[in-house]
Symmetry: none
Subunit: 208 residues, 4 copies
DNA sequence: GATGAATGAGAATTCATTCAT
DNA sequence: AATGAATGAATTCTCATTCAT
């Protein structure tokens, strides 16, 4: 029998442990095929114990989304807001995106979200409302600002915000789905992309 | 009882009907959560009938991949090979990509492939080998040619080939996952992307 | 499509063909595991055709018992009744038993009857009433006669009748169950048995 | 919900309970027609519980054979080996055979083995190799010894060993198949048989 | 009469969830 | 708190039977 988690700290550690185990299992098998047993084993605990922390498999899934998704958003937002220029902000974001893809669970998370998107439309809606949309809107606003300031000449900031995310999603997905089959140089792809955008958005020379 | 399919033609029609039903169900629920019953009902047939045409749920899935994936590849390849210039080829491909996203089952297919990627690694490997890789390599070769001819100045054709696909995948995924929550102007995104690439790859003026 | 059976003769031939196929299939798989498809294939016909001749799988089974069991009984009974002495009758019956085991379907039939005995108690009761019991009673009566006539000194004719059958059943079962694993010389076993019985039943010499 | 079996002892008891239930069900319906549900109900447990102890219906069957068949063999062998004379050994074996038929599950087991013999040829081969053959060979060797010692004059010890088993199998089968229809005095049959054999094998008087 | 496609009831097996220990 | 035995709903797949051709 595993040591009991008596303090609140110990309990929240065990919760995190379970969520991390769950992500791995959901990633490997998908929500439906994932057995509570698998999650328990991945965490080194027993089946019954999972139910002490989460009421059902669906609750584990929901908690996973809530716990893992949001911290990243905040980071991106901080990055965008604190960078002196958008050009720098974009370049810094690239570095962060690379980290996100290679060093975090984001690709696994992305794969799980995509895979279960039709099964849990509320979760998708929620995720859109709390993560995707705020981030895109923040980007859009920042781009509007720099257009006004003349830093960049972005023709359509709405599309531009999405355009920025394009290789991040591509890379995340590649990492989840194809990384075992063929590697991809995410950093190169991301920076080629930013440079292309900056080229396209370069302010027109209006001096002459 | 449904009309019996006695001729080979009628049987192959019914097979197609079932595969189309299966794609919808796999898309909605994922492979695991999809019940054979669901597929049968979607096709207006009974459970047992599905087993006359396919030996198991997995066989339905495999047949789906085989049937739906490959035709699109050929189209893309033709497009690339017949366009007089790469610039035109890319612009035409965008039109095709838009069609692919809005008018075909590609987004559903993409979502299913991503969702089940860990469960069927052989199918993913197969898909990579027969669809993804040949397409990317063809693009890469075409880009190498135009670099040689001076039409474009692509710094890294390997990355460039992937870069081209970036918004296609993004759009396909958006269509699958978020289209009910928020629409996205795929044509605008795709063409903004191509224009950015063409800007970045514009041959340097070496006359002066 | 197989030739149609138009005449009554042709129909009854086809019925026999199906029953023979059924015996093989029931023997190999047991009643439950036998598929109508198997029986049809064994007979070189199609599934639906079996239903033209028999209303259900159970009806096939019933017809099998009725058709195949009874002829043999009549033969045994004739043998016993026409033999001039019981001693000769027993020896002749042995020859017949050997034939029954090696050259007929009796062992298959026995195996099927035993295997399904609990599933079809009425069939077993029927079989007992129409085949087993009459034969045993006839034997018993003949033995009573020869005891009276002084030909043999059988202590208990009821038991004796059963005792006679003992190696026949043993051999039939061995043939069904173990013949592929190890052969058994049925003729030798049967005649050793008869000789032992004749020794035990030899009339006591009461002359001195 | 039934009491939980937590200790190894309780678990092995439950396993035995299930096997005993399984024998009854397999006997009544045959392996194929037996539903796991039936076995569970016969044991007073639920369907799912059977799968905690045995991985599949086939595994239950195999375990049954392993558990129930072998103990009896040992008993017979001990009997034969410890009896001072073969004559006594045979008479004692008869007592044991009667017990086997009336007081143990042997007849049920025999019926099940016969019924499923074609479906599980490996089990039959196994059973022949581990139970039937060793027993027959032991008998044969003992008979060879007594022929040498002059105790009995057995003409063919190979056949004789089989001849001895003849009424045991007959009785076991009768018990399984016909006992509800008509009783049979097994003890009388068995001892009549032994006496007949002893008569046939009596050493020839060579004194005069 | 013959065929085999279609049906749906039924059985093995799995696994989320409960709860006695 | 932790465990894992027990349960039964749910799912895949099979096959007896029907019936359009």
């Amino acid at each position: 029998m595993t040591l009991r988690a008596r303090t609140p700290k110990a309990k929240s550690d065990r919760e995190r442990l379970l969520l991390s185990a769950a992500l791995n299992v959901f990633f490997s098998k998908g929500f439906q095929a994932a057995r509570m047993q698998d999650i328990a084993e991945e965490a080194g605990l027993s089946k019954g114990t999972v139910y002490i922390y989460f009421g059902s498999k669906e609750e584990v899934f929901q908690a996973l989304i809530d716990t893992l998704a949001k911290p990243n958003v905040e980071h991106i937002q901080t990055l965008l807001q604190t960078a002196p220029t958008v050009t720098q902000g974009l370049r810094m974001m690239n570095g962060f995106a690379r980290q996100l893809i290679v060093e975090t669970d984001m690709p696994k998370f992305l794969k799980v979200l995509v895979g279960e998107s039709q099964l849990f439309p509320e979760i998708v809606a929620d995720y859109h409302a709390e993560v995707i949309n705020p981030t895109l809107q923040l980007m859009e606003r920042r781009l509007d600002e720099v257009v006004d300031s003349g830093e960049l000449a972005v023709p359509d900031t709405h599309i531009a915000a999405r355009q920025i995310m394009t290789p991040v999603i591509f890379s995340g997905l590649w990492e989840s789905v194809f990384s075992k089959t063929q590697t991809l140089d995410y950093a190169a792809l991301l920076s080629a992309h930013v440079e292309a955008l900056l080229c396209a958005w370069a302010p027109k020379d209006t001096t002459s």
